[in-house]
Symmetry: C2
């Protein structure tokens, strides 16, 4: 490695990865350190040789009217966690957070959680019913919905069970599987309040709404009316285009800041009522089992949480010491991220990370911190604070209240251990 | 159409479209008014019948590790303008602005402009050279670049020739072809200033940099050093994932606010010099032919511009009168959009549109305005003002200075005429 280095900010290639855990696909493609060393051969000859790619005519612009990723990125995909679910239809495909940049999750990589598989719905025949305690029950076609005044907002969606495996121990090796039931997109749709206004909600009696999906699980969730009238959207657009089939095409609810299951996909029915429905997905599931055997129900909000996505579990820091950019994501179901702290010594000391703008309400926020590794073992952590003043807790603080048998709502500080040989792994401290 | 309507905001389905011009795919799928009328059959029977999609097991979550649009959206694609270019390799694929929501262009629909086709580049062998008036010329591998401190920002990219056909007359029928050389994404990369700092720019002599692509056209563009040190990015990430091949994979320049050709794709070389290079793509092309036969050169900036994307050319308003949402995009190469005005009478009177947040610098801004059409012929226009105070000009104001033979930098107010029968067409007033 003789490459000349002029600035302390420019450093030697440093991270390689295990299959399925790469931050960036190149690292594996390039064969790690060996191939990288070849880049150090210097730069003496001018002019530069003509690039091979410049010797041939490229593909025409009509090659793919709808574009696809480069074939070199074929390993950057959603993945199932082996053995986590008994079927592939009531299952989860995790987003590859270690490969992602910025805050927008590209639609092809948005995590998927289905309860009875992904239905195919023809938008020409799809209808949304709104009924119950309303003056004028109605059936809306997609065209009806698309005619209404719309809004676009950037929001995260996180499954309530995200990071659930960590309640017991450091169960899974990579951030894709610890935190990958998390994505963020610019959603476009109609405020639910507009639709409720149209049907004429019975203001004296109505307290809750029920949302139901058109999939085989007929997934249903109760939502407080106050929340429904606040910032809930009936969504058809995701990152500029129509929703993808796995994310609810052609219509879904987005309940900002609330566990993902409430953002009912393939939305077909909204019922207005005076009390919660206590359906299967809010009693048997998506309730929080406490140490005394009782369950907390209707724990909607995803509290403030953050995670370092690079370096993260499964990666290897190739260079012993030197500069690394620590980067990750922070979010809060209650509002904006105000600050993210980063520690490299397991929480004994903290520095403040840089937040990438825009910092939106109930959206992912990208943070970054510079780190010069001294080559000794390290414990990487991030801790976020939202604009309510809430501080992301330690895992042991959560366990003191909720034990270790929970599944949902684990928003604890995540620790990645860097070993002296550069390997990074999931640990609990 | 007997559907009950309770609120003035909720209106009858109203827009249908020509092939290739749909705002939203449903409109064609649903067969226009006939199918929509079927939705008006009312909502008397409860409970709702079980949805067909709920009677079957859906696809497993592993069905597509990298997701794709619904098959019903197959018509929402990039398109070439028939006859515009002589080859498909030096050509343009326009983004379907009439189909897009919000400000993010999904990567599959980002417009494509190639000068010698789209090369395929292996990131493992790709190198970026930085040389010229520098202390330490260097070759960077992709791993080298990926190790550097990164930033993410939302920016538009607009080809300098966007809307170029309109210099002469209202030449093309839809907003995809009038304004579709325009897209917006969250880009992630390294500030060019970081790389220039690493190689040690000769501060006394350096005034310009040259960027060169690795495609067969060896596309080259001069960029002032002051601009290069300001907000220019060497980019590898687009909307969270690696660049797509057609957008410069694995590395491109993004020169915010400047005509797209300067955001050199497949970036392989940056040379630092003391004067402009006057290459082919900044002399023969991408210069502005004035009425006196001389050309303006190095007209970098894309001045403030806006366009209504719905209703827009090729659509038909099905209902004679009633509510329509007017929506579109505004952007400025100089900074933020401050205000957008909308007129429905060809500019005699104006109302202020709502701007969707976030409103970012040198990024698309989504605007919306309510419109109750009285059924008479109308002329729809939008006019934006950026935070420098610059007001988007009329076409005749541009022509007074630059004549009608220009190709580039047409940022005039666009007019869509709504006929009494509801048809919308491209006109010049």
């Amino acid at each position: 490695m003789e490459k000349e280095r002029g600035s302390g900010r420019i450093l030697r290639p440093a991270i390689t990865v295990d299959a399925g855990a790469s931050r960036r696909q190149f690292l594996r493609m390039a064969g790690g350190g060996a191939a990288l060393a070849a880049t150090a051969s210097g730069f003496a000859a001018e002019p530069l040789p003509v690039a091979e790619s410049a010797r041939v005519l490229g593909k025409p612009v009509a090659a793919d009217p709808y574009g696809q990723p480069a074939r070199f990125e074929a390993n950057v995909i959603r993945r199932q966690s082996p053995g986590l679910t008994r079927t592939n239809e009531s299952s989860i495909a995790f987003a590859p957070l270690q490969n992602l940049f910025g805050i927008i999750t590209p639609n092809g990589l948005h995590f998927e959680r289905d309860h009875n598989g992904r239905p195919e719905i023809d938008p020409a025949t799809h209808r949304l019913a709104i009924h119950g305690l309303v003056a004028r029950p109605k059936l809306y076609s997609m065209d009806d919905v698309l005619r209404l005044p719309s809004v676009s907002r950037i929001h995260f969606i996180e499954c309530g069970a995200n990071t659930g495996m960590e309640w017991g121990n450091a169960a899974v090796p990579t951030v894709q599987f610890t935190h990958g039931m998390l994505s963020c997109a610019e959603y476009t749709g109609v405020p639910l309040s507009t639709l409720l206004d149209d049907v004429g909600v019975d203001a004296k009696r109505a307290r809750f709404v029920l949302a139901e999906g058109a999939d085989g699980s007929a997934l249903t969730r109760t939502i407080p009316l106050s929340m429904a009238l606040d910032d809930v959207l009936v969504v058809y657009g995701q990152n500029g285009e129509m929703l993808r089939p796995e994310n609810g095409y052609p219509l879904r609810l987005v309940v900002p800041g609330v566990q993902g299951v409430s953002s009912v996909k393939w939305l077909r029915r909204i019922e207005v009522g005076d009390q919660p429905w206590h359906t299967r997905e809010e009693t048997l599931h998506y309730s929080d089992l406490m140490p005394d055997g009782k369950s907390r129900q209707f724990t909607w909000i995803q509290e403030a949480k953050s995670v370092i996505t690079s370096p993260s579990g499964g990666m290897t820091l190739l260079d012993k010491g030197g500069y690394y950019e620590i980067t990750g994501l922070a979010w809060s179901g209650r509002g904006r991220i105000k600050r993210v702290d980063v520690s490299t010594d397991g929480g004994r000391s903290w520095g403040t990370a840089t937040l990438q703008s825009p910092v939106e309400r109930k959206a992912l926020t990208r943070f970054r911190a510079d780190w010069v590794w001294d080559g000794a073992p390290a414990l990487l952590q991030s801790r976020c604070i939202d604009d309510t003043g809430y501080v992301q807790p330690l895992l042991r603080q959560l366990r003191e209240v909720r034990g270790t048998r929970s599944i949902y709502h684990n928003n604890a500080i995540q620790t990645w251990q860097v070993l002296a040989n550069g390997e990074v792994r999931n640990v609990q401290v």
